[in-house]
């Protein structure tokens, strides 16, 4: 018994403490979402009145197209993450496996480019997309397509860098063997590399997805039409407005918006952990 205590009690104590810390805000959001007054009232930790009005409001109020926002977010983040990883994987493969002149220079440039504090590039991105709007309004400023283009460009550097790290950890033996058999780089890429890297690609796709889902600064300037907004912009308006705040609706919306991400995350948990560590655990 004492040995059990010595060995395991502290483990449970630490774990329970962390669980409390992790769940505290989540619990607060849940009770706020059930609070009908829509205020930030968390003076008591047990709700004295439970109501689902905040949830029903999201689905019935015609001025809050919540489901459309949700779909917009999933669609934008989904498309961006997939295309970005497809393009990024090819570059990462080339950096990792091919020999060519200027590779080191290329890598250094990539590293540097990523370090630039990108927030000011906002102004430039704006000017570019505005000009694009002048001749192709469908993909310029103020459109989802335009926003996706900007996201794609922005995620490219990070993704290539991230993917390269992962790709480096995939053993070389297999493609060496294929090379000896006379396979071209394209064949190695499609037939050997892609299947091997699939879990890693999935992880980076997911991380890009979450990153895009969370983006807010650009989205609120790009997506002004109610129907085109993402869930992050839409929900922020409940509490970020100058004139009105509605924490109840925000909390309810946040919970619903989080569910798909949490589900994906938990179901892919094993791969994500493997993916996250792959970059580091190469000895």
């Amino acid at each position: 018994m004492t040995k059990w205590l010595r060995d395991n009690l502290w483990r449970h104590a630490v774990a329970l403490g962390a669980v409390g810390f992790a769940l505290f805000p989540i619990y607060m959001v849940v009770i706020s979402s059930l609070n009908p007054t829509g205020s930030l009232q968390v003076t008591s930790f047990v709700p004295n009145e439970i109501s689902f009005i905040n949830y029903t409001q999201l689905f019935t109020d015609p001025t809050i197209p919540f489901m459309t926002w949700m779909w917009n977010s999933l669609y934008i983040a989904g498309l961006v993450s997939i295309v970005s990883v497809i393009i990024g994987a090819a570059s990462a493969f080339a950096f990792s496996r091919l020999r060519f002149k200027g590779k080191k220079l290329g890598l250094q440039t990539l590293l540097l480019v990523q370090m630039f504090p990108a927030i000011l590039a906002l102004a430039a991105v704006f000017v570019i997309m505005e000009r694009v709007y002048n001749f192709a309004p469908e993909i310029g400023l103020g459109t989802q397509a335009g926003l996706m283009l900007v996201y794609l460009g922005g995620s490219m550097g990070v993704n290539i860098w991230l993917l390269k790290g992962f790709v480096d950890s995939i053993p070389l033996e297999l493609d060496e063997a294929a090379k000896i058999d006379g396979a071209s780089p394209m064949q190695i890429y499609w037939q050997i590399f892609i299947p091997l890297a699939a879990p890693v690609l999935a992880v980076v796709t997911l991380l890009t997805f979450i990153g895009t889902f969370n983006e807010y600064i650009l989205a609120r300037l790009f997506l002004v039409e109610m129907e085109t907004r993402t869930v992050a912009v839409g929900l922020q308006q409940f509490i970020g407005g100058q004139f009105s705040t509605n924490w109840g609706a925000f909390a309810a919306g946040s919970i619903i918006a989080s569910i798909p991400i949490v589900v994906i995350f938990l179901s892919l948990q094993k791969y994500i952990v493997a993916g996250l560590t792959a970059g580091s655990v190469k000895g």
């Binding site: 505005e130 103020g142 609120r220 970020g240 407005g241 004139f243 009105s244």
Partner: protein
Amino acid sequence: MNSKKIVSLAAALGVVASSLLGATPAMAEDKVITVWADETRGPALSKALGSLADQTEGEWATGYKIKVVSYSSFDALKEALDKATANTGPDVVIGANDWVATGVKNGKVAPLTLPASVRANYTAGALTDLSYQGKLYGIPISMNNTAMLVNTKLTGGKKPATFAEMVDFYTKNKTSKKLSAGLCVAGGGMSFGAIGVLNALGGAPYATDSKGAVLTTKDPIDVTAMTANVKKYLLDSKGKSTGFFPADSTGCKDNFLAGKVPYAVIGNWEWKDYVAKGFNMNNLVSVPGMTKTTFGKSFASVSGAMLTTYAETNGNATGAKSFLNNFFGSATGVVLYARHEQRPPAHKAASGAVSDGAKAFSRTGNQAGMPQIGDILGNSAGGKNFWDALPAYWTAVLIEGKDVAAETKKLNTLFKKNVAEGSKSLK
């Protein structure tokens, strides 16, 4: 080059060529005037106009339909306007009066002249609010102000006549009525919303003469008097806040609605929330001053529908001016709009047609309103602009317990520098 390659190249070029031929120039469409607004005014305007599809073409401007774009917040709208450059900019933007000065400097807003018949519907102050260096840049829509609501259920029907009466009530009933504060700011934040309190205590962002003209040489704050008042009314003997006036505005609305605060400064855009909880707008007053019949003045500025320089580049300038005159300048349009916005309308003919809440704010605005001069309040020649400086002052004296005399003096010096800088452009 082998034959396959040639075939593939040819195929590619074929696709390119055919798709280029398929490209046709854009068709001429109905002309549209685009209006940008924030998350409260935008939907109100949309409802007043009906959706773009429902509008009869030319109803408000010959040959034009009106499209309203609502941003998710006031800040997002401002940021988008700052960043707008060429063809994506709006023709009209609905903004605060203090946008005019920066809007002119950045080439965002364009001047206009209202027909004499329309001009007659507005007070000179409302028009001055939207003017810069003698030119008018928009048409006043509604007044933006705050006033103090009294929870008469708590105070036993009494409305305070002096600042001291409020402090007195708080001190006496703090424990028995479980008050969380005496007077708090529920709407407008600790600068826009708290200006009435600053003024009641003896301070102002700029000094004025009896006619309301800005005095650049006079101290905006009577440092001695204000120091004494802050110490007497807001602090205890140890120099700590008594809790009468919290330095933070968040939570005030909830507390007031819950009956834990007797007096709260509220904004005219949200009075319906209070009426819904059973408060009566007859109990809306100006912040009481040190003696009876004096009041702490608060900003009573107008928001306006401004003409942008993009209307010109978009080829919509005349139409946009027509729209402004015919919709916002006419009683018909303003009443339509006022029905969906809670603030008191700036148009004289429409003010009779509005609700009690809007009337109450009109009353306090006329009683103790002061103009909100963008160039003075927005510049930071003294190190900080007014909007950042006043909250910092409250924090310094009420939370951090810094020396009141020194902080008040600093605030005065800062305001004075800002006034000197900001009044350069006033004529």
